[in-house]
């Protein structure tokens, strides 16, 4: 087969997302007649097949080839890609700067046009200063419009949105990201790389802005779009994003699987995450699941990083250490500023921490800050968060305002389709009702428990069950798991594996020491064990780290 035909086959496969076939074609092209085009195509295929290092090797060789042939624009495009890969995935800033400088030199004598725009896009991505990143992204967008380069236009638009979100212009930024996503899912861009990149940028921006509605809103559109291609292949470019979409839809188990796989892959490849750190995400999931030791292990070494704040705080709150949770939040809020939309997720946790500490005046200030941000932002999610925060503070104070505020929070979260937040505010509502209306409180707590269990938030489900018991209602019997042990007994076994005493198990699962003791003896009897050390060994062997 002629070299050109093979190359054409490769490009065709790339365009429809058939990466293996693309690789086969380009490999054949490299074998029969090595050219920079063939190496470049092979590099792109390998990147999609998650062979990041091999992709870099191929594209570095393609770069040399293009330079030799005097194709400066194509060579420059590769240097920009290399710069980005080194920065994002390998955390190698020196290499990233080196390749960027290379691109600048190559493009010095090239007339203004799309290539200069790609350079500005790279500069924007490499800039840590939001205003500078915005300026470069705007320049890239101008260049794209002038040169009629749809890939560059959408990438630049998304990057501009991201830079604006980072600088605190959240609504404007997210609107631009929405625009880029809308265009990308309508099939406007020429390459799937652009599509993938815009998805990542959107997720990262939503993470930064604490906007969990948006990934959910886009997930339906995305899934529709990826069905046209191969779902697995297209979503596999970023398991963390995929997990985010699952989590936003209340599919915690699916999110967990994606995150575990993402961390494994990154560890194996010695790479960093392209966007949100999956370890921080998984740590949050582990706190949900009352698997606190595992959460701590995941966060070890980077729990002071901004990325990990939310998970680190959740862990401290779960460990009944609200003072250090609050200190961490206050530090982060000092860096970020307290009156920006970006502060809302931290302020929400701060309310929890201050209430837990009994510092109600401080809790009230944090709740007031959320309300003050909610108004001008015009965002329903933040208005709901404000009602939730005010309701929790009022509950701690014991006033009649708690119930209406929390009812409002339930309704607003429900209108947004945020099921986990609905369940959590319902639990808070049950707690507010408990002193004066125990009967209603039991009903509401039961509803909250069922919702939380269905969503995989077993920690809060346990708290709801404990509240029901304290009000005289029967707790759950514990639905039987597939195996010999009930679901509850599996939880107990896991904690035995962590070496916890009965009293510690009781505290962790919000049950009485007597109930914990009962579960432990059932586990021993069912598994024919005699000693705690045997149970611990059994847990490690049979439950695995999961």
């Amino acid at each position: 087969m002629a070299a050109d035909t093979v190359l054409a086959r490769g490009y065709e496969a790339l365009a429809v997302g058939n990466w293996s076939e693309a690789r086969t074609a380009f490999e054949e092209a490299v074998r029969t007649a090595e050219s920079p085009e063939a190496l470049d195509g092979l590099g792109r295929s390998l990147w999609w097949l998650r062979q990041g290092r091999e992709a870099i090797v191929c594209r570095e060789r393609a770069y040399s080839g293009f330079r030799r042939d005097g194709e400066l624009a194509r060579a420059a495009r590769i240097t920009l890609w290399l710069s980005r890969e080194y920065a994002l995935v390998f955390g190698n800033d020196a290499a990233a700067r080196g390749w960027l400088a290379r691109a600048e030199r190559l493009l010095r004598d090239v007339a203004p046009g799309a290539e200069q725009g790609w350079l500005d896009l790279a500069r924007s991505e490499g800039s840590h200063e939001p205003s500078q990143a915005t300026t470069y992204a705007e320049a890239a967008l101008d260049a794209a419009l002038g040169a009629r380069d749809p890939d560059l236009e959408l990438r630049a638009l998304a990057q501009l949105g991201f830079a604006r979100v980072s600088g605190g212009e959240v609504d404007k930024g997210l609107a631009q990201l929405d625009e880029a996503m809308a265009a990308a899912t309508s099939g406007e861009p020429a390459t799937l790389e652009t599509f993938a990149d815009i998805c990542c940028t959107l997720m990262l921006a939503c993470e930064r802005a604490g906007d969990m509605e948006r990934p959910q809103q886009w997930s339906a559109v995305l899934q529709d779009f990826v069905r046209k291609y191969d779902h697995v292949v297209l979503f596999a470019f970023c398991r963390t994003c995929c997990a985010d979409v699952y989590a936003a839809n209340g599919r915690v188990d699916a999110a967990e699987q994606e995150l575990v796989a993402a961390i494994q892959e990154l560890t194996d490849a010695g790479q960093r995450s392209r966007c949100v750190n999956p370890a921080a995400r998984l740590a949050e999931v582990r706190v949900f699941q009352s698997r606190l030791d595992e959460a701590e292990q995941l966060l070890a070494g980077f729990d002071a990083e901004p990325d990990a704040t939310r998970a680190a705080v959740a862990l401290r709150l779960a460990r009944s250490d609200p003072a250090s949770a609050a200190a961490l939040l206050e530090r982060r809020l000092d860096e970020l500023g307290r009156m920006s939309v970006l502060a809302v997720p931290l302020l929400e946790q701060l309310v929890d921490a201050r209430v837990a500490e009994g510092r109600l005046e401080d809790a009230s200030v944090a709740a007031g800050a959320i309300a003050a941000i909610a108004g001008p932002s015009g965002r329903e999610r933040i208005a709901a968060a404000a009602a939730f925060a005010r309701g929790r503070v009022a509950t701690a104070r014991g006033g009649p305002a708690a119930v209406p505020e929390l009812q409002k929070a339930v309704n607003r979260f429900a209108a947004l389709g945020l099921r986990l937040e609905v369940a959590r505010s319902r639990l808070a509502l049950a707690r507010a009702l408990a002193p004066s209306s125990p009967e209603i409180a039991v009903d509401i707590a039961r509803q909250a428990r069922d919702e939380l269990e269905a969503l995989g938030d077993s920690r809060e489900a346990d708290i709801a069950a404990a509240l029901m018991r304290s009000l005289g209602a029967k707790g759950r019997a514990g639905p039987r798991a597939a195996g010999l042990l009930t679901r509850r007994e599996v939880e107990v076994l896991r904690l035995l594996g962590e070496g916890l005493t009965n009293a510690e198990i009781a505290r962790r699962l919000f049950i009485s020491p007597k109930t914990a003791e009962h579960h432990v003896s059932r586990v021993f009897a069912k598994l024919g064990l005699a000693r705690r050390s045997e149970a611990a060994a059994y847990a490690v062997r049979h439950l695995g780290p999961e």
Partner: protein, 140 residues
């Protein structure tokens, strides 16, 4: 005779005032905790509390207008109109944002400043109809 009638008038006024106060504090004032202060029987209080709670959840801006009182002996008859916006789930119907208005008829029996008997008829079918029926002109 005349004296007795005047005394009776004060007594009846006190009874309607108690009902007014109950509506002001519990229904329009959203104070669920106060329900127990008005009803002599705990079970009735718990039942009323539950009813109020679910209406508050479904219609956070709920307001009851007290249209007409008739007081006789130890009883107060009340005709009222409840209005509100459907912003929360109500009997399995997710929020529709619709504005509803329903009439109710209630009888309170009062002794020693408490409700010792309570009978009420809310136009529940009217609520459901207003939440579920297709608005006029919805069908093309």
């Amino acid at each position: 005779m005349l004296r007795g009638k005047r005394q009776g008038g004060r007594y009846l006024r006190a009874n309607t005032d108690l009902v007014r106060q109950y509506y002001g504090q519990v229904l329009n004032g959203r104070d669920l905790n106060a329900v127990g202060d008005y009803f002599a029987d705990e079970r009735t209080a718990a039942w009323v509390q539950k009813g109020c709670f679910f209406y508050f959840q479904a219609f956070p801006d709920l307001h009851v207008a007290l249209d007409e009182f008739v007081a006789e002996d130890d009883r107060v008859f009340l005709r009222s109109t409840m209005t509100g916006t459907h912003d929360g789930e109500f009997r399995g119907i997710p929020a529709t944002g619709r504005h509803i208005a329903v009439e109710s008829a209630e009888v309170f029996r009062i002794a020693d400043g408490k409700f010792v008997g309570y009978w009420c008829m809310v136009d529940a079918a009217g609520v459901m109809r207003q939440l579920t029926e297709e608005p006029v002109g919805a069908r093309a």
